[in-house]
């Protein structure tokens, strides 16, 4: 295998050297691994920074007690279960817990929360959050699942101190408006 020299900032090279020592690896393997990951990310049409951020979100979801399940199974289970007040409370408290978990992981900024929710709510939802409202559009969500997701999102937002002033939920579309701080 042919090798060549490459220039990097001294402080970065020194840190990589420290990590290599700490983990019993070589600087050569760490640098090649990083460059290789960048090349692969590019082949997937993504940049490495985005992949790292997305992977971190997925790690957070996994560590917060979430699971990956086939959508048809979830759909069937939702269809058969009654979405009563008890079930709503489960969804809401699950949202509250997830919101608290995000907070513990330093994810407080609404844009960051938006990014996390895009990754963990439904299939490729279009979510936008501002201090006034949250809009979630996901055409694949049925009526019952839209309601469940809405309640979950209410839980997440309330754990971040945003109280719900009004809500509009229909199949695949959720709009939550938040109370302004001055509002009673």
């Amino acid at each position: 295998m042919k090798r060549k020299f490459l220039a990097a900032k001294e402080n970065l090279a020194d840190k990589i050297n420290e990590i290599a020592k700490e983990h019993g690896r070589t600087v050569f393997s760490i640098v090649n691994e990083a460059l290789g990951a960048f090349i692969r990310a590019n082949e997937w049409g993504k940049d490495l920074t985005t992949i790292i951020e997305d992977a971190r979100i997925l790690e957070i979801a996994r560590n917060s007690g979430m699971v990956l399940m086939p959508e048809p199974l979830h759909e069937r289970l939702m269809e058969s279960a009654s979405f009563d007040s008890k079930m709503k409370e489960y969804w809401r408290s699950s949202g509250v817990v997830f919101g608290k978990y995000l907070d513990l992981n330093g994810i407080k900024d609404l844009k960051k929360v938006e990014r996390v929710l895009k990754e963990v709510v439904g299939v490729n939802p279009d979510i936008s959050i501002s201090s006034e409202r949250l809009v979630c559009i996901s055409p694949r969500l049925g009526e019952k699942r839209s309601e469940a997701v809405a309640v979950f999102l209410e839980g997440v937002m309330s754990s971040m101190g945003l109280e719900i002033a009004s809500r509009e939920v229909s199949k695949g579309i959720i709009v939550l408006k938040f109370k302004r701080e001055s509002e009673p």
């Binding site: 042919k2 090798r3 060549k4 020299f5 490459l6 220039a7 990097a8 900032k9 001294e10 402080n11 970065l12 090279a13 990589i16 990590i19 600087v27 050569f28 760490i30 640098v31 090649n32 691994e33 990083a34 460059l35 290789g36 990951a37 960048f38 090349i39 692969r40 590019n42 997937w44 490495l48 920074t49 992949i51 790292i52 992977a55 997925l58 790690e59 979801a61 996994r62 007690g65 979430m66 699971v67 990956l68 399940m69 086939p70 959508e71 048809p72 199974l73 979830h74 069937r76 289970l77 058969s80 279960a81 079930m87 489960y90 699950s94 817990v97 997830f98 990754e119 963990v120 299939v123």
Partner: protein
């Protein structure tokens, strides 16, 4: 006057360097700038106590899972829904056919689905602490699951799901032993 940046030389594979140089040209960046960005990212990842290679691999496998239609859900809620279902046999059938569909998806997507399956299982079955798949020379395959804190019903259903996956990939289940927190399923290649 701009601050002088101290540089150090590091050794890399020549083929990797060639690709990175090409990408730097395409992005209209200097090789030095691009390499520093990448190393900065690698350092950020190391703070998460993983390697950049592991993290990108994790991302790729979860992407396969999400592309196959998997959802991220709170486990406790999912369990509540599962426990509300009264007919266990019917539930098992649902899980088996969901697994079967996933197996067919893998066959359509990968040339050698059995090669990628072990990493996909260990990366995506978040409710299990450990899942391993081992191929035997006599045409058998064994999948073992460990999840000391998992709900027994969920573990059994996961077993059915895996039977469905393997069925689509040409294996039938010959023995399934799922006790509290541990499951071992043996498969034999279908003739």
């Amino acid at each position: 006057m701009p601050e002088k940046v101290e540089k150090k030389l590091v050794v890399v594979r020549a083929d990797v360097l060639e690709k990175i140089s090409e990408m730097a040209r395409r992005e209209n960046k200097t090789l030095f700038a691009l390499v520093n960005e990448i190393l900065q990212d690698a350092l950020k990842v190391s703070e998460m106590k993983v390697t950049v290679g592991d993290l990108t691999n994790f991302y790729r496998l979860i992407k396969v899972q999400k592309d196959s239609g998997s959802l991220i859900l709170p486990l406790d809620l999912f369990l509540k829904l599962v426990q509300k279902w009264e007919n266990k046999e019917e539930l098992e059938k649902e899980w088996f056919s969901a697994g079967e569909w996933y197996g067919k998806y893998l066959m359509a997507k990968f040339e050698d689905p059995l090669a990628i399956l072990p990493s996909l299982l260990s990366t995506s079955l978040w409710h299990l602490s450990e899942v391993k798949m081992e191929g035997k020379s006599d045409g058998r395959a064994v999948i073992s699951m460990i999840a000391p804190n998992a709900d027994q019903l969920l573990l059994e259903l996961t077993g059915k799901y895996l039977e469905g996956v393997m069925n689509a990939l040409g294996f039938r289940s010959i023995k399934s032993d799922i006790v509290r927190g541990v499951g071992i399923i043996e498969f034999l290649r279908k003739l």
